[in-house]
């Protein structure tokens, strides 16, 4: 049974449809990515699923609770990293976490302090626990805000742009921590991002959204191969000719072949591993003097940009 089950979820602000009829399921233990450009409706979706705002249409169940019928139960079962870190800057790291632990209904002082310590240690903030969060770097604030989302050990966690505004090194650290955390404590995580790298390196499945609508869902690999076009094989030969191209193009698994302007032979392959040796052999048998062979996987970036621009892709 999915932990998050969304059907026809919509939100409009005045005349603007920020989210239009989103439907998807997230299974237990998954890190599910919501990938899309700024303004795609990611934050609005998370806010609705975390019962911070109410939907204009559709519904969803989160951790077994209906977001319309029982918002308090939903809030209790989810942790949210909000778009801006939302930390009390005049409170220390420890005071921030302690307040939220209590706000989420933890009453046992020993359990609260134990959990706070555990999280501060995990996020490497224990030594700085007594300092006001105002003095923290962006990366530290983000770690503290993620710790806050985890403080009551909720089954479901929403992370809205966890690496926004961080440098590459800090971003990598946050990604690693998210991966590690999802292995250590079995949470179901939904992660919003406009960064491909986040989605590619952290998420098991990704839904690309644009203008409030779902564009495609799949693992990063699936999206890459489905959308970005085929893998490419580039062969440099000493004696390029259309005859060679035609000979190789007839090999099974080759969908197209051509001579590029620089004289190299380019082939599009369904499956690189299976077809590459066959193509090279066909070329050699047809008298080609092969100098170099290069293969190119389509990039997720290419796929993503195509999706977002809607290059002939039906976005409904």
């Amino acid at each position: 049974m999915p932990v998050i089950s969304v059907s026809g979820l919509s939100k409009s602000f005045g005349g603007l449809d920020a989210v239009s009829g989103l439907s998807f399921d997230v299974e237990e233990g998954e890190i599910y990515g919501l990938l899309g450009p700024n303004g795609a409706g990611k934050t609005t979706t998370v806010r609705m699923l975390a019962c911070i705002i109410s939907p204009s249409g559709g519904t969803a169940a989160v951790a077994g609770h209906d977001i319309r019928a029982d918002p308090v139960a939903v809030r209790r079962s989810v942790g949210v990293l909000t778009e801006s870190p939302s930390l009390y800057e005049r409170l220390t790291a420890e005071e921030n976490l302690t307040f939220f632990a209590r706000a989420y209904g933890m009453t046992d002082d020993r359990k609260v302090s134990g959990r706070v310590k555990e999280l501060l240690q995990f996020f490497q903030l224990w030594d700085r626990r007594g300092e006001k969060s105002a003095v923290f770097s962006k990366g530290m604030k983000q770690k503290l805000a993620i710790a806050r989302a985890l403080v009551h050990d909720p089954p479901v966690i929403f992370l809205d742009e966890p690496t926004a505004g961080l440098d590459p090194e800090a971003s990598k650290l946050i990604r690693d921590l998210i991966t590690e955390m999802s292995q250590k404590e079995r949470h179901t995580i939904m992660l919003c991002t406009h960064r491909l790298e986040d989605a590619e390196k952290v998420c098991s499945r990704v839904m690309v959204v644009n203008m409030g609508r779902r564009v495609v869902v799949g693992s990063p690999d699936e999206i890459r191969s489905e959308v970005a076009g085929k893998a490419k094989l580039e062969v440099m030969v000493a004696n390029p000719s259309t005859a060679l191209v035609e000979a190789a193009a007839s090999v099974a698994g080759v969908s197209a072949g051509a001579i590029a302007e620089n004289g190299r032979l380019i082939f599009e392959l369904d499956d690189l591993n299976a077809a590459t040796p066959l193509v090279v052999r066909a070329l050699v048998e047809s008298g080609a003097r092969v100098l170099t062979v290069n293969t190119f996987l389509p990039s997720l970036e290419e796929a993503y940009l195509r999706l977002i621009k809607g290059d002939g892709w039906d976005s409904r």
């Binding site: 019962c51 911070i52 909000t82 307040f99 989420y104």
Partner: protein, 278 residues
């Protein structure tokens, strides 16, 4: 059971907000300095200094209109006094009274602006609204953190004012103690709590509409205007602080609070609070 839980959660919000306020000089400065000016600095200038160094009788003629327009019962009391005695008496017991309306208005609106609009300003409101704390618990906690320190400041200011007034009157009236008296006790313990609540109510409404602390503060400052009217009225001798005035204030603010409370409960919705801040 349900109420104990609500109260416990409201107190959680209260303690969190109080911890922030305690460390925020932008909030602490006005709520400490303004009462000090009204209870120590101004009275010292107007009451204590003349009574110690002595003032020529002509200095009192400038405030003559006040004396001319005094209500008959007060006129009867001050008639047998020297100019200095009567001036101290009028100023200490009547003229300064409206300042004690400004203190709770100012304190409560500064505190409530910080607690409500400030939390939007600093973008901390969303994480708070994501918790299972109910609208009622959040509202109650934040009203308390605005109300309790406002009253603490008002009552402390009153205690300080009594000391300042009595120190100056002690020698002037042969050991007589002017304050506290029943009228002032009614002002401080009946009227100012209602005034503080009105200040909070208005500020909460304003905070829901505006972006941040500064705007909320500026709009709520309008609350002081009617009180200034009262002060200038007194200078002209038109209105005089007394039992009738106390009763009018209690009735007026009680009705205002009731209306604010009912409207407030209706408009205080977590979604509204967040959306208006975007």
């Amino acid at each position: 059971m349900g109420f104990a839980m609500t109260l416990a959660n409201a107190m959680l919000v209260f303690r969190k907000d109080w911890m922030e306020i305690r460390r925020n000089s932008q909030v602490l400065a006005p709520i400490l300095i303004v009462p000090l000016v009204f209870t120590v600095v101004l009275p010292l200038i107007v009451i204590l200094v003349p009574s110690v160094i002595g003032m020529p009788e002509t200095a009192y003629q400038g405030v003559g209109t006040i004396f001319e327009n005094l209500p008959p019962d007060i006129k009867a009391i001050v008639e047998g006094m020297s100019a200095q005695q009567s001036m101290t008496y009028i100023f200490a017991l009547y003229f300064f009274a409206p300042f004690f309306l400004i203190i709770p208005i100012m304190a409560s609106s500064v505190l409530a602006s910080d607690s409500f609009a400030g939390e939007k300003d600093r973008k901390t409101i969303e994480a708070l609204l994501a918790t299972p704390l109910t609208d009622g618990e959040l509202l109650l906690g934040k009203i308390l953190v605005s109300f309790v320190p406002s009253m603490a400041v008002t009552i402390s200011a009153f205690a300080l004012y009594c000391v300042v007034v009595d120190v100056s009157s002690f020698s002037l009236f042969n050991g007589a103690i002017l304050l506290p008296n029943l009228l002032w006790a009614a002002l401080i313990f009946l009227v100012t709590p209602l005034v503080a609540l009105a200040g909070i109510g208005i500020t909460v409404m304003v905070s829901l509409r505006v972006k941040g602390y500064r705007e909320a503060q500026q709009l709520s400052a309008i609350l002081v205007l009617p009180v200034l009217g009262l002060i200038f009225g007194q200078i002209g001798g038109v209105i005089m602080f007394g039992t009738t005035m106390i009763m009018l204030l209690v009735a007026g603010f009680a009705v205002t609070d009731l209306i604010l409370f009912r409207v407030g409960l209706r408009v205080f919705r977590r979604e509204e609070i967040l959306m208006k801040s975007v």
